[in-house]
């Protein structure tokens, strides 16, 4: 038997997963609880800021260490596909609730409710962002990381505009009497619930895009990340159509 070589153990380390984990898992929940369960507004804001800082620094640091540097063998799109599958199930849970409430209502919208107009133009605008993110990936594949960054920023801006329009739509719906709380209705519950879930996905998708931009501006692009990100953007946009059809046109 030949001589056995002894390895010196080497352990890879990275602080960013811990920052993201505790930021999202500990500080954000406590911010919510301090605000809504204990009504400690100041403490809630401080906790929220700490949580968001951990998320931002952790997310950017993570992306900076990996995108265009670590070879993940191209498995990220497969993982994203599975993640989107779980997202479909989350939305399925909310959608099932919507269907149950509609099925149990004698008429829809319930009597006395003023329904809101469908945000058709803004949804078409949102869909256009799928084209833009497609251009972004095309730039990335062509080796133009900065082009990828630029088109991603345009997509991000389009999403911000859509998100803003969603918030103004909610304000308009509330002015028509569709409120929550003591005067809540099944219509208002499902309207804000379903569109709110979509809004949450807009925010999450925007965070994914933001993590990739700094690396791309430095000239680093990984198509595994680019493809996975693009898949998520398309998914959120398709969700927008689904919300439109379900909440406004059904």
């Amino acid at each position: 038997m030949s001589e056995i070589k002894h390895y010196t153990a080497h352990w890879h380390t990275c602080p960013y997963p811990l920052m993201v984990g505790f930021g999202a898992g500990l500080f954000l929940p406590w911010a919510f609880m301090l605000q809504f369960n204990y009504e400690q507004g100041l403490a809630a804001i401080v906790t929220l800021v700490v949580g968001l800082l951990l998320l931002v620094v952790g997310g950017l640091g993570w992306a900076g260490q990996t995108i265009g540097i670590v070879n993940d063998e191209g498995w990220a799109p497969s993982a994203m596909l599975m993640f989107i599958g779980t997202e479909v199930m989350t939305i399925g849970g909310v959608m099932a609730s919507y269907w149950v409430l509609r099925a149990q209502a004698p008429i829809w919208p319930p009597e006395g409710v003023t329904p809101v107009d469908a945000p058709l133009m803004m949804t078409i605008f949102l869909l256009a962002s799928s084209l833009v993110i497609g251009f972004a990936r095309k730039q990335g594949l062509a080796g133009n990381a900065k082009g990828f960054a630029n088109f991603t920023i345009v997509t991000l801006v389009m999403w911000v505009v859509f998100g803003y329009s969603m918030i103004t739509d909610w304000g308009h719906a509330a002015s028509l009497g569709n409120v929550l709380g003591d005067d809540a209705t099944a219509y208002a519950t499902t309207l804000y619930g379903f569109t709110g879930i979509h809004f949450a996905h807009i925010i999450f998708g925007a965070m994914i895009m933001m993590t990739g931009i700094p690396s791309a501006l430095k000239g680093r692009y990984s198509d595994s990340f680019g493809r996975a990100m693009t898949m998520y953007v398309h998914f959120v946009n398709i969700l927008g159509i689904w919300v439109l059809l379900q909440v406004y046109y059904w």
Partner: protein
């Protein structure tokens, strides 16, 4: 069979011990699946201690009629809530899908790590966040006391306490599970050693893979259901409020849509672990390997359409009750096949009763009793009489809680030589296993009879049954049983601590297993597992005792 010659000169620890980090930074910021697995294990053990103490307190309270150790029913509710939520979400699922999946599976498939090491690290810190949130419930004002189920309308009232805490614990642990699940799925699909076919995988790998697919499908629905709880309570939505057109029963359906399959998320990995332990210590191949392989997968569709049996008494149409009776009974089929496969694996084997084997055998008998007492529960007519009674409580403790817990402890004894490089004391290990088994049977066995007499579960006291000798006697014996269980659990932990600090040094393959995590002597210390990518012989099997080819493993770099 030794494979040492395959690894000559590859550079490895002579005992094949992966080793552990030396610095705090390497521990806390680790990206290595083995170290992350140990973090999961610590989290699971901490949760087991908290949930176990809560169970002990409840059992002591129920030791006699009337107040025994507390006069505050709300405190009892808090113990009950902590016991259920922490034992399932903080102990069993993280131990099985966190510790075992992380520590063993990447090496079992011949991979260098998990597919996404950073995502893996984030998952474990999300788990720890969830555990810390759960522990906060013991010290915060307005603690959550709505049980692990969180049923509305109670849970959206102020009486239930901090509903947001409950929602967030479930959501954060759910996020940890989902990120862990797609990571593990990618690891199994993409990172298997060259030449390793699906039918060459360990039963543990297959069971963990299946459980993670179930997690990916069903966890999000639970997350959605508890999110809506908080939306209802704090933001004035009305999903579960009948006054505005909502439906409280909707929550039960969403909740059990995940939480029944969650039973299989726990059941399958611990059965997978038992397969591996049984094969190792009976020196036998898995009996009807392919049947067991597909039986695991069958739980995905079969587990998806049984949740309504949790709501038999909630006013369902008869056709639905009948349908769900059949679908629930259908689950017995893959479960029965797995049990038969286990018995066949032991049959005529050269059984060696080591400490992991004793724990696994005890888990098997608990599982058998729990499985058999589960079949009648599927029948609506019987369930009507025993729903929400001690019969149900005893059943799920046998079939999932205690059997699963014992299998998890078996896994710690099984992998201790590789994790710490040292052996557990065999006598102490076996004694604690047998003691735990006897103790839990004294606790849970008599409570079946209390349930048949009509004792409802979750009650703080049983003054109304003070004249019923069966119920009072069962409560008395159950409380005696908890002393035996507590002492055995303590002995088990002392055995582990003794092993880590003063145990006999482990050899490279102390159990003479053919599975990669033991048989592959080229496991290197630190990150990476193997010095160069591993190739597997087409005839190799992790259970090929006496049949594996001499050149089972080769290296691309050789």
């Amino acid at each position: 069979m030794s494979h040492d010659s395959d690894f000559d000169g590859m550079g490895h620890d002579p005992n094949g011990i992966p080793g552990q980090p030396k610095t705090l930074k390497e521990w806390i910021f680790t990206l290595d699946h083995k170290v992350i697995g140990i973090w999961y294990l610590w989290g699971a053990i901490a949760s087991f201690i908290v949930a176990g103490l809560a169970a002990t307190a409840m059992r002591l309270e129920l030791g006699s009629v009337g107040p025994t150790i507390t006069e505050d029913p709300n405190l009892y509710n808090l113990w009950l809530t902590m016991h259920g939520a922490v034992m399932i979400l903080g102990f069993q699922i993280p131990a099985l899908l966190g510790f075992l999946a992380n520590w063993a599976v990447p090496i079992m498939v011949g991979g260098k790590d998990m597919a996404f090491p950073r995502v893996n690290a984030m998952s474990v810190w999300l788990l720890w966040s969830g555990i810390i949130l759960a522990l906060c419930n013991l010290v915060i004002p307005d603690p959550w006391n709505g049980m692990w189920t969180g049923y509305p309308p109670y849970s959206v009232t102020d009486m239930a306490g901090n509903t947001a805490l409950y929602s967030w614990i479930v959501i954060i642990l759910g996020m940890s599970s989902v990120f862990g699940a797609f990571n593990l799925a990618c690891t199994v699909v993409f990172m298997r050693a060259k030449g390793m076919g699906w039918y060459q995988m360990n039963m543990l790998t297959m069971s963990v893979f299946t459980a993670n697919i179930i997690q990916l499908i069903f966890v999000p629905v639970l997350a959605a259901s508890v999110l809506l709880l908080s939306l209802d309570k704090y933001l004035g939505f009305g999903f579960y409020n009948p006054e505005v057109g909502g439906d409280a029963l909707l929550y039960q359906n969403l909740f059990w849509f995940y939480s029944h399959p969650a039973v299989y998320v726990i059941l399958l990995p611990f059965m997978g672990l038992m397969f591996d332990v049984f094969a190792t210590f009976s020196r036998n191949q898995i009996f009807q390997y392919k049947v067991a392989f597909w039986s695991f997968l069958a739980f995905i569709p079969a587990g998806a359409d049984v949740w309504v049996h949790h709501a038999y008494v909630a006013g369902l149409p008869n056709w639905l009750r009948l349908l769900m009776t059949f679908t629930t009974l259908l689950i017995s089929l893959p479960f029965g096949l797995l049990m038969m496969s286990m018995i066949g694996t032991l049959w005529k084997g050269s059984v060696k009763y080591t400490s992991p084997m004793v724990w696994a055998m005890c888990a098997f008998f608990m599982l058998l009793i729990g499985g058999l007492t589960g079949i009648p529960n599927a029948l609506t007519a019987i369930d009507y009489g025993i729903s929400d009674s001690y019969v149900i409580m005893s059943h799920f403790h046998y079939v999932m809680a205690v059997s699963g817990g014992m299998a998890i402890f078996a896994s710690v004894f099984y992998y201790m030589p590789k994790m710490s490089g040292r052996m557990c004391n065999e006598f102490m290990g076996k004694l604690s296993g047998v003691g735990f088994f006897i103790g839990m049977n004294i606790v849970m066995g008599p409570l079946y009879f209390a349930g048949i007499e009509g004792m409802p579960r979750r009650y703080y006291d049983y003054q109304m049954f003070a004249d019923n000798a069966t119920i009072v006697g069962a409560q008395h014996w159950a409380t005696i049983g908890i002393y035996v269980t507590f002492a055995s659990a303590l002995l088990m932990m002392i055995t582990w601590i003794h092993a880590v600090f003063a145990g006999e040094k482990a050899t490279q393959n102390p159990w003479q297993s053919e599975s990669l995590e033991f048989a592959a002597t080229a496991v290197i210390p630190g990150q990476g597992n193997f010095p160069v990518p591993l190739s597997i012989h087409p005839d190799w099997s992790p259970y090929g005792y006496g049949t594996n080819p001499v050149d089972s493993f080769t290296y691309k770099g050789k």
